[in-house]
Amino acid sequence: MTHANLDTSIPKPEQLAELVRRYIPDARVEVGLFSGDDHFEMRVISAAFEGKTRVAQHKMVYAALGDHMRKRVHALALTTSAPQ
């Protein structure tokens, strides 16, 4: 997956949510901003997290966000869990 055309733009919350849903198909994702336009907060609930450590769960979300995480997203407050 490449984001070559997005080099200068800050993603919108819904774009980030869509990336996560694409990578983790059953994910319930809520994304908002807690400061400015590049400080995101995200909650992800997915059965794919079942039995995984929180570190592993967060890595799955980071993988979904790809280059966005490394370059465009200044800050991401992340909460992950499996469905109750």
Binding site: R54, V55, H58, K59, Y62, M69, R70, A75, L76, A77, L78, T79
Partner: protein
């Protein structure tokens, strides 16, 4: 847990820091003067546990700042390591402090109270 290769001196140096300290926090700034809100929060949570920890200011060394992300395969700073294991960043530590997991991990490392 890591892609560290002995031939990479940066990864080797990070590995040494992680293994030489029971509790080590890679952060922006210092515990006295954190330079990022996320680092500041983890410092506050750690200070609250009264367990001593080492802190590495990644702002002083761009090679460590980038290298630590590779070491843990984790894109953000701060990063907390306990007994050689990557525990998490700000969100995970906050969660673990709230649900008692952080205390459970750190309690055995707390120095005995004198007097």
């Amino acid at each position: 847990m890591t892609d560290a290769t002995p031939s990479d001196p940066i990864q080797q140096g990070i590995d040494n820091l992680v293994k030489a300290n029971e509790v080590v926090l890679f952060m922006k700034g210092t515990p006295e003067f954190p330079q990022c809100g996320f680092s500041q929060r983890v410092v506050a949570l750690l200070n609250h546990t009264a367990v001593p920890y080492a802190a590495v200011n990644v702002l002083l060394d761009p090679a460590i700042r980038e290298g630590i992300k590779i070491y843990a395969d984790w894109p953000t700073i701060p990063q907390l390591y306990i007994k050689g294991e990557f525990i998490g960043g700000c969100d995970i530590i906050t969660e673990m402090a709230a649900n008692g997991e952080l205390e459970a991990l750190l309690a055995p490392l707390r120095p005995a109270q004198e007097n």
